[in-house]
């Protein structure tokens, strides 16, 4: 568990969250996936124990923990239920972080304490049909009209949409082409002209209330504007540290669970008169999983610790995301394979784990986009291994 490098308090966080997740989340993980019902009550459970809004400073009612603490929380939640872990993004992901770092004093006072209590869930509206990582191509438009903005357009792949109370929406504020015309605005649920569309059923994370957002002449007060056009760099910075906070620890937690299951299963499963764990090929697969997990955890914890030390960087986040994503694909794949046909069965968690991490390599920027970014940083001399 790489416990040596963690503080006493971090080990305590891990133990507490693990106990909660084992007791409350794990037993419902399969049902959440099958019924597509976001387990929003799990956020309440975490909130009661003090594990939501983990990053929120004490002045706004949060515990003000650092990023590595949060990584541990998310990892442990995901170890038992990946859908719950994604919902943690509604209290500890990009939108709440953006409010803390970029919001007005009023916005912070109004929203952060409620987020820290788990009473206000926030989602992030970015992707469009023709704008995934290519944010400069965003078409959803907000036009100033007196003391309001009028929003028209739609957003895809919005995690937590069906249960969130507030949305940070990336919009084109200015006809300037590309990134320079894009800004961000907060939209509350219930605002006339704003609706959460149908559930988007993907290969994985089916219990996250993922949906489309639709804006039809939606009028939002001008003070909801969080980021005027031309300052997307600031938001991307928030987003970069968020890349470490949620996506990789979810993958790590799921992979850890898959590994544990594979070890247990291969000791128990008998083929050709002995447990398959006695076969060298199986042992090597277990060894490869362990190596992969160790490397991923070493990278992720280091990256989080760097952010906490004020040394975070976009390229570090990208490197971590790509490695941990692909590690989790390999590990869940091997774990499923070791389970044989039972690995495919919905009675076992293996196939769900495999599906859940598959999408994580696409979401939060595809691994390919991150490779582009890493490549550019190397070539521009801003990064050298």
């Amino acid at each position: 568990m790489s416990e040596h490098e963690l503080t006493q308090e971090q080990r305590l966080i891990r133990a507490s969250v693990r106990a909660i997740a084992e007791k409350h989340f794990k037993p419902k993980a399969a049902e959440v996936d099958r019924t597509r019902r976001p387990p929003v009550e799990h956020i309440k459970t975490l909130a009661e124990a003090g594990f939501v809004g983990v990053f929120i400073p004490e002045e706004y009612g949060g515990p003000g923990r650092n990023l590595l603490d949060l990584v541990i929380v998310v990892e442990e939640v995901a170890r038992c239920c990946a859908n719950t872990a994604i919902l943690v993004g509604c209290t500890d992901g990009a939108t709440p972080r953006a409010i803390l770092h970029l919001g007005s004093a009023e916005q912070k006072k109004k929203y952060l304490p409620r987020i820290a209590k788990g009473e206000l869930l926030c989602a992030w509206g970015m992707s469009e049909a023709n704008a995934g990582s290519d944010i400069g191509n965003i078409q959803c438009k907000a036009v100033k009209d007196g003391d309001h903005y009028v929003i028209n357009g739609a957003k895809l792949w919005c995690s937590g949409a069906q249960v969130s109370d507030m949305f940070l929406v990336l919009v084109r504020l200015d006809p300037a082409p590309g990134l320079r015309g894009v800004g961000a605005i907060l939209v509350e649920r219930g605002t006339p002209g704003f609706s959460v569309g149908k559930h988007l059923d993907l290969i994985g994370f089916r219990g996250t209330g993922m949906a489309e957002l639709v804006f039809e002449d939606c009028r939002v007060p001008a003070q909801n504007l969080m980021l005027p056009a031309g300052q997307m760099g600031k938001l991307l910075q928030v987003f970069n540290s968020d890349r470490i906070a949620t996506n990789p620890p979810i993958c790590l937690g799921v992979a850890q669970a898959a590994f544990e299951a594979a070890v247990a299963y291969s000791k128990q499963r008998v083929q050709f008169r002995k447990p398959i764990a006695e076969q060298q090929g199986v042992q090597w697969k277990l060894a490869d999983m362990a190596i992969d997990l160790e490397a991923a955890r070493a990278l992720l914890y280091r990256a989080a610790a760097r952010v906490d030390a004020g040394k975070g960087s976009a390229v570090d986040a990208s490197i971590t995301k790509v490695y941990v994503n692909e590690m989790s694909r390999r590990v869940t794949d091997t774990a499923m394979q070791l389970h044989g046909a039972f690995g495919l069965s919905e009675e076992f968690p293996m196939e769900r784990m495999f599906r859940d991490v598959r999408g994580m390599s696409v979401g939060y920027g595809t691994t390919e986009i991150h490779r582009n970014l890493i490549g550019r940083e190397i070539l521009d001399g801003r990064y050298s291994a």
Partner: protein
Amino acid sequence: MDFLIPEELKQLRESARRFVTEELLPLEPEYADNHDIPDDIRARLQARTKELGFWAFDLPEEYGGGGVGVLGMCLVFEELAQCNVPAFRAPSVFTPFLGPVLFRGNAEQKEKYLQPVIRGDKRTCFALTEASGGSDPTRMATRAVPDGDEWVINGSKIFITHADKADFVQLFARTGGKGREGITCFLVDKGTPGMRLGQNFELMSPDRPWELVFDNARVPAAQIVGEVGRGWDLAREFLGMGRLMHGPKAIGRAQRALKLAIDWANQRNTFGAPLASRQAIQWMIADSEVELHAARLMTYHAAWKADRGLPYHMEAAMVKLRCDEMMMKVVDRAIQIHGGMGLSRELPLEVMFRDARSRLITEGSQEMQRMIIASELLSGRGAIDRIGNP
């Protein structure tokens, strides 16, 4: 050596392609994620394939089939597999795909079981796998004990596709010692007292196989196929052909995925340029094509051996191993090229992905195939230089 496909098989393939386009693809949005199509739709499709002369195209002519052989079957299955409907394991609309066991029965059994299946009047299922045994025959625990003119069967089988719709079961049970030589094949009619459906398994792929439970089920001795104690040979023959057919199915799915990826790469613009202009995307497409090409050659080679009556045990293992891995990789790259859209259940890629992943395990895992191949090589039975040297 000649790689030309005979003209009549090419025409057959062309007709199959048309049938898939006209009749099956329109059903995909509704039934892609189902383990089967509704009975009325299957009846309609079967009527149509009979009308077109397709039905039972692969079976020997003496049984009223088209007699196109294994290569012909591969070509048709490639076309069928391009569509996610019907599911891989669903009773096909082109042929009952019943495997070799029933052809090994006696005249009476053929009359009662084989012929109705060929006509499409009866359905069957194949019950071999057990919870503790997987592909390991030495661990088979379902047992049949003689009692007068009958055999009494106890035990259970798992992962039996379409056990719920089968009019009779091709059942393998232990009748003797521990090894392969203690296994016998029975035909057990639906409704036999003591045989019942158990659990229904929900799998990652659209398959929904069943458990079959035998609790003092009594079966007359006349229901034994072949000889007592020789059942494993029948099972092995069935498994071998099943593995070979993993080839065309994987090829068909992969071919469609690659086509979708190429079209998308040509049409999708990001950062002001089509994806197709990006070198790494080009490489993904090139690797997919090369793997697809090699998989197709391996499959045709194995089919050719089967058609000539040559042993293809090891080739079938190689086909299953490599074609399924190829399909996994090609479909995965296609998803990655599509980005978020690739994950969506609106496109056919997502269900192809779950299918692909499942097939690395079903009908003998990849590891089992490696074991077969290695054992042939290390024992010196399987020579390394094999092509053209049957």
